[in-house]
């Protein structure tokens, strides 16, 4: 079983930004959520996959095809949606559907009409009359109706109202039924990423901080609330990424949680009030604000 996507030592330089030796794989049949602050490199990574830009060094492979040389072959089986994509304002959704259908053989007309109904968008309406949310859904329809093997989405639910978000997630989830199809999506919506991703990859300032299966990743992080004296010995305990104090009350954040860590804290004389799991949003913030970031992928 090949990887749907492979980045091998990929570098890309811009005046204010450097994508630094990206090594990343997406196995076939999985959903990967790409998370990171604005400017972390998410869109750069996705554009490299679509041949819109070219790496300075390293290898980019999509569905077994090397980019950018074999991008035509690769793109026959990729569906890509991002804010960059523009549809023709004075043409209808129906016109766009016919246009795409004429290019890609995998187009499923019945499914396309079904999606239009589910997404509540009118095939006969001109694009200029579509709201932001409707436009996002229209782009998604144009991709999904082709049933491509790989779906790449840049911020698919950003800016959508809760109902539209739910509709989009439901359709992404449908892709899960087929073990031969894969999805890579970048999103600020950490709740979506947390819910539907098999793997979470975390980019920060051009470096891949983490790429790991979601369950293990979420299992590693905890916030531990305790009271007592934090001193330099505590600070040196491996796996602690941050400590916040308020008087004798403190919150310890760890990304290598295990029972011995709690025991070590108790040995320091700290009294543990509670050990809490963290949401992906909390982990996101912890990663970005953490002082001891080494930028090494696990």
């Amino acid at each position: 079983m090949q990887n749907a996507i492979e980045f091998k030592q990929v570098c890309k330089s811009y005046p204010d930004f450097f994508l630094d030796n990206l090594n990343l794989q997406l196995p076939q049949g999985q959903i990967m959520g790409l998370v990171g602050a604005n400017g972390a490199g998410k869109s750069t990574a996705l554009r490299l996959l679509m041949g819109l830009i070219q790496a300075d060094s390293g290898v980019v492979e999509v569905l077994g095809h090397k980019l950018p040389n074999n991008q035509v072959l690769a793109k026959q089986n990729i569906g890509y949606a991002s804010e960059d994509i523009r549809l023709y304002k004075s043409a209808t959704l129906g016109w766009h559907m016919d246009f795409i259908k004429s290019i890609y053989s995998g187009w499923d007309d019945a499914y396309a009409k079904d999606l239009a109904k589910k997404f509540d968008i009118k095939i006969g309406n001109k694009m200029k009359g579509f709201s932001h949310g409707q436009r996002v859904k229209a782009c998604l329809l144009l991709i999904l109706a082709r049933r491509p093997q790989l779906v790449i989405l840049d911020e698919p639910t950003t800016g959508l109202d809760p109902v539209a978000r739910h509709e989009v997630l439901a359709e992404l989830a449908e892709i899960l039924r087929d073990e031969n199809r894969s999805v890579l999506f970048s999103s600020h919506n950490t709740q979506d990423v947390e819910q539907i991703s098999d793997t979470i990859s975390f980019l920060h300032k051009g470096k891949l901080l983490d790429s790991q299966d979601k369950e293990t990743y979420l299992d590693r992080w905890r916030r531990i609330l305790c009271t007592g004296n934090i001193d330099s010995i505590t600070l040196a305990i491996e796996g602690i990424t941050d400590i916040k104090k308020s008087g004798s009350f403190c919150e310890v954040t760890t990304n290598q949680f295990n029972d011995t860590l709690v025991a070590k804290l108790s040995q320091q004389g700290l009294s543990i009030s509670s050990v809490e799991r963290m949401s992906l949003e909390q982990i996101f913030l912890a990663n970005v604000f953490s002082k001891a970031k080494t930028g090494v992928a696990s």
């Binding site: 049949g29 999985q30 959903i31 997630l169 439901a170 992404l172 989830a173 449908e174 899960l176 039924r177 087929d178 073990e179 709740q191 947390e194 819910q195 539907i196 991703s197 098999d198 793997t199 299966d213 979601k214 369950e215 979420l218 799991r277």
Partner: protein, 125 residues
């Protein structure tokens, strides 16, 4: 649809635990009798909009607990033992008993006082 689960990202328990708990409830309630085929991992994943890896984790742990059995190539089924329902019900009872005792101790009650509370509740029924 009898296959539906009601999951929430805002529940305090992680998703895989919610899935496990609800499947156990379906078994306890009789919705899914012994031998009943569970939806495939990908099917449940798509139906609940939860990642495959999470559903897989839930199924794996359910199997470790003897609640379901997985047959290669055929899928997962509610364990075909008469005791599955009984075991689940016993685990429920133990959970509540531990909770009752902990709550009593937090109030500062002695063991005898906790027993008195239970007796009173039983007599009122």
């Amino acid at each position: 649809m009898a296959d539906e689960l009601f999951l929430s990202p805002n529940d305090s328990r992680p998703m895989y635990l919610q899935i496990m708990d609800q499947i156990k409830q379906k078994i306890l309630s009789g919705d899914w009798p012994a031998g009943q085929a569970l939806p495939s991992i990908r099917e449940l994943s798509a139906n609940t909009q939860v990642s495959v890896i999470t559903v897989k984790r839930a199924y794996t742990e359910l199997e470790e607990q003897g609640v379901i059995v997985t047959q290669a190539g055929r899928g997962s089924f509610v364990a075909d033992t008469v005791n599955v329902q009984k075991n689940l019900a016993e685990a429920e009872l133990e959970k509540h008993t531990t909770g009752l005792i902990d709550a009593g101790h937090r109030l500062g009650l002695t063991n005898n006082q906790i027993l008195a509370v239970v007796k009173k509740a039983l007599n009122t029924d």
